[in-house]
């Protein structure tokens, strides 16, 4: 039997394949490695694979190619999101150098890489089946990863994530089925048909599809699972979830609203999403105020940050998408950097999550504290960081698209968020109570990661890379 695919089809998914193969290599190498180098070996093989995949994906930039009969679109849009997912995976894999029981490192890394494959498929998915395939590949890995810790909260988190995420997927799948019923096609491109405007099947299908996505993006009112799952999951998994899942889901969301929604219904269909984004910016930031756990804090912060990114997409302008990508990249770096700092000062059970762990950090590790300060100020949108420039770009695009009320909500949310982020900064610069947190053997790698993220966040202010060529075509 010959497959009806050409070599160009395989080339289109080459970055995904590289990551998948790297995961296999991690597992194989783990069998043959001694106990001492096990952890490093897995991390370095994974990082190598991710870098190769990044280079391969980078070569596809600007060459749009429609692979697998319109199921997967390689090129500008997919490339940028894939690179963000790869950065997220690299930033999370590095954390395994600092933490987690040695015996489980290789397995966890392999599963994480396969999850990343799912996210990368979502970035390029151009039909409903591919979207579902990518989403499931991503989620299945994460259910397992959430449970890799011995804590009860880790298993609780896995179960919670499994149930709620499946619910979201059910919505998404049902919506996809209705959309197929309405149009007779699974291609996103075929959905953008003006004749669908009066079809109730299309409306209910698109609505349920969007609910599924909003669930995955953990926007209000579907956000309550996020802090709990983030708190329970192991730190690297939390880092991965907070960036890769959101990036991949935003990719699907952006492609859906830019390419699959008929222009005539866009305003009416998407208005609820923008309202939800506006509420999320307020609710996420208010929720942060009471948190005493860094993972929960960043969980709530992620709810608000995704809201900011959606504000950029409101209006559906090409420029808005570029700014959303800029902010998403910045958000990825800020979050990964913050988690890297947490990993660098982690002790086994606490995982650097409790805010009191940060007390007196500025005295013991001034550079680490400085990096964390930059990353948190960036999340709050203070200059000179990418958070500042990203916010102004988002404000500009939403104002020019006529969504002034969203811009105003963004301002209010940001004002609230500063206090929450600054709590961590205050803890770091306050005098230490109790015994100082000890450093652990493989900390340098996490410190390097935090430093790179902090530096990148600052540099991005001065070189505002907003790639053109990223319009999410559907065919």
């Amino acid at each position: 039997m010959t497959l009806p695919f050409t070599s160009a089809d395989w080339w289109a998914v080459a970055p995904v394949s590289v990551v998948a193969v790297a995961a296999l290599l991690v597992l194989v190498a783990d069998i043959f490695s001694g106990r001492r180098e096990q952890r490093y070996l897995s991390v370095f093989i994974a990082l190598g694979g991710l870098i190769v995949a990044g280079v391969v994906a980078g070569r596809q930039f600007g060459h749009n190619y429609n692979a697998f009969f319109g199921g997967f679109l390689a090129g500008g849009f997919a490339t940028v999101f894939q690179e963000i997912v790869l950065i997220a995976a690299a930033g999370s894999v590095i954390l395994y150098a600092a933490m987690g029981p040695v015996a489980r490192v290789a397995g966890s890394i392999a599963i994480m890489l396969w999850s990343a494959c799912g996210a990368m498929l979502m970035a390029g998915a151009a039909n409903l089946i591919m979207i579902f395939l990518g989403l499931e590949l991503l989620s299945l890995g994460l259910y397992a990863l959430c449970a890799t810790d011995d804590r009860t909260s880790s298993r609780e988190s896995a179960l919670k994530y499994l149930i709620l995420s499946s619910t979201a997927t059910a919505f998404l799948l049902f919506g996809a089925a209705l959309l197929f019923g309405a149009t007779g096609s699974v291609q996103l491109a075929d959905l953008a048909n003006p004749s669908q405007v009066s079809n109730p099947l299309f409306w209910s299908g698109a609505g349920m599809f969007l609910i599924g996505l909003v669930f995955k993006l953990s926007l209000v009112p579907f956000h309550t699972w996020t802090p709990d799952v983030f708190e329970g999951a192991p730190l690297p998994v939390t880092a991965f979830m907070s960036v890769a899942t959101k990036a991949a889901t935003i990719a699907v969301f952006a492609r859906f609203i830019y390419a699959a929604v008929p222009a005539s219904v866009q305003e009416r269909l998407l208005l609820p999403v923008w309202i939800v984004a506006g509420i999320s910016m307020i609710a996420g930031n208010v929720g942060m105020l009471a948190q005493r756990n860094l993972k929960r804090l960043l969980g709530y912060s992620g709810i608000a940050q995704v809201g900011y990114i959606l504000v950029a997409l409101a209006g559906g302008t090409p420029l808005g998408l570029r700014y959303a990508l800029y902010y998403l990249t910045a958000y990825a770096l800020m979050n990964l950097g913050a988690f890297a700092v947490a990993a660098a000062i982690s002790r086994d059970a606490e995982e650097g999550a409790h805010l009191h762990t940060y007390q007196g950090l500025a005295r013991q590790h001034p550079w680490l504290a400085a990096a964390m300060t930059i990353l948190l100020l960036a999340l709050a949108g203070l200059p000179p960081t990418a958070g500042f420039l990203g916010k102004i770009l988002i404000l500009a695009s939403s104002v020019s698209a006529g969504f002034v009320w969203l811009a105003a909500l963004l301002i209010v949310g940001t004002a609230i968020s500063l206090y929450a982020y600054a709590q961590v900064i205050r803890a770091m610069y306050a005098a230490a109570k109790g015994q100082p947190s000890q450093a652990r053997p493989f900390v340098p790698l996490a410190c390097v990661s935090a430093g790179i993220c902090a530096a990148a966040v600052v540099v991005m202010t001065f070189y505002p890379l907003t790639p053109s060529n990223v319009l999410p075509l559907a065919h």
């Binding site: 916010k391 500009a396 020019s400 811009a407 105003a408 004002a415 205050r426 610069y429």
Partner: protein, 456 residues
């Protein structure tokens, strides 16, 4: 290029000071003062030259564009001068970190005043809060003050950001400060102005947005509060001059009455509260609220003479409030308290300290021949010329009150019976005198020849 050096030098020096050994106090201070003096020189040499580098081309044009305008040059010169004096006067614990913060504060504020791009202005607006925040957190009397300062001013910074974004989108470029541009008109102009004005009014501050200010000013160490009250509080007024009046003149004109009313209320309110304060730093803090209300009135009037007076008064207030805070710092250092009730008669044993404080206080209450008078007079004449009588009457009342509280400050500290329970230490030595002498000299020069400020 020199203008870029002027901004980057204090920033780089401030960052690098952290590499110096912590214990070496005299080296730290020498490096700090040397850098601050060099910055004065480079600023003067740079003059109004410009430096520009492209930043954004979408969604609006923006550039890293620095360069002094005739207005901002004088404020920047004031800033560099006050910074040099204040760094020289720094004698706090953890001196290395403090001097580093002072240099960072100077650099960020130079960036703000020399920025020719609105987006750059907004960037430095937020950035200059950070050194003060760490100053309050590390050396302040109460940590809550740092939060109040930061949150208040950050909220202002956010409305500034939104207004900047809206301006950029509508106008197509933010590279507009100090340029002869066509003013922005239309339905959005008042809203954009409102965003700017909120930020400026919080920063100045005016009543009722001033509640962060008295605890901030009394909590900061004297050298830092000298810089903050002398120059950072002028950022808002400079914003009104360089952004409000230049880019949105119609909006400023349409909403002149509320602005002047807020200024007038601040003028009276600050003066009345200053009359009954017991904490000497708080007297100067409230006097600052009062004095800057006068500048708000001048800006609201829009009269050319009043605006010249506003610039003179901005410089004058910077000079005398910096001198007052530095001198009160010396008093506090000697007597371990700054409460009027516990102090008195210091002047008998410390004639130099008393003399310096006397000059600064007289400048603040508007004695002819000193800078404060020149500014006040020009503002009052200008506002009257513009046809506003009631603000002039309010201002005159406030000026009388200013005499009362400043003389009360001076007399309670320097005259009267010596308080026996506080130790009396030595008078100002030559080094301490040198830290305030330039400020007092400048007060006299500007007082005698204020026209220098607009003949450049």
């Amino acid at each position: 290029m020199l203008v870029l050096v002027t901004i980057l030098l204090p920033l780089a020096a401030g960052a690098m000071l952290f590499a110096l050994p912590r214990e070496d106090r005299s080296v730290t201070r020498t490096v700090g003062v040397a850098v601050a003096v060099v910055v004065v020189v480079t600023l003067v040499l740079a003059g109004t030259s410009e430096w520009s580098f492209r930043w954004l081309s979408r969604p609006f044009q923006a550039a890293f564009h620095f360069g002094a305008t005739p207005t901002s040059f004088w404020i920047a010169l004031l800033l560099t001068m006050v910074s040099a004096c204040a760094i020289a006067a720094s004698r706090v614990a953890r001196l290395r970190d403090f001097v580093a913060l002072m240099l960072l504060l100077e650099g960020t504020m130079l960036g703000l005043f020399l920025a020719r791009d609105l987006l750059l202005f907004a960037l430095f607006w937020d950035l200059m809060l950070v050194p003060v925040f760490f100053g309050l957190a590390g050396w302040g009397e109460h940590p809550a003050t740092a939060w109040r300062y930061f949150i208040y001013n950050f909220a202002g910074g956010l409305t500034l950001l939104l207004a900047t974004a809206a301006f950029g989108v509508i106008y197509g470029s933010t590279d507009v400060i100090g340029r002869a541009v066509t003013p922005l008109v239309g339905a959005w102009a008042p809203w954009i102005y409102a965003g700017f004005a909120f930020a400026f009014l919080v920063k100045t501050p005016v009543w009722p947005l001033h509640t962060w200010m008295p605890p901030t000013y009394s909590g900061l160490p004297p050298p830092m509060v000298a810089v903050v009250s002398a120059v950072q509080s002028k950022a808002g007024l400079y914003g009104f001059l360089a952004i409000g009046l230049a880019l949105l003149p119609h909006a400023v004109h349409d909403y002149a009455t509320p602005l002047m009313a807020l200024g007038a209320v601040s003028l009276l309110y600050g003066a009345v509260i200053a009359l009954v304060q017991n904490d000497s730093k708080r007297i100067v803090a409230y006097s600052s609220l009062s004095h800057l209300g006068l500048v708000a009135i001048a800006i609201g009037s829009g009269n050319a003479l009043a605006l010249r007076g506003a610039l003179v008064y901005i410089i004058a207030h910077g000079l005398f409030s910096a001198a007052l805070f530095l001198l009160l710092g010396y008093v506090e250092e000697r007597e371990d308290t700054r409460l009027l009730a516990r102090l008195g008669g210091i002047g008998w044993k410390n004639p130099k300290l008393a003399g310096a404080l006397c000059i600064a206080a007289l400048a603040a209450l508007g004695l002819p021949g000193l800078a404060g008078f020149a500014g006040e007079l020009l503002v009052l004449i200008g506002v009257y010329q513009a046809g506003y009588v009631w603000p002039v009457i309010v201002a005159l009342v406030a000026i009388v009150l200013a005499s009362a509280y400043l003389l009360r400050l001076y007399q309670d500290l320097m005259n009267g019976p010596e308080e026996a329970d506080v130790p009396v230490r030595s008078d100002l030595n030559w080094y301490e005198a040198l830290t305030v002498a330039p400020l007092l000299a400048a007060l006299v020069i500007v007082g005698v020849y204020p026209a220098a400020l607009w003949h450049r």
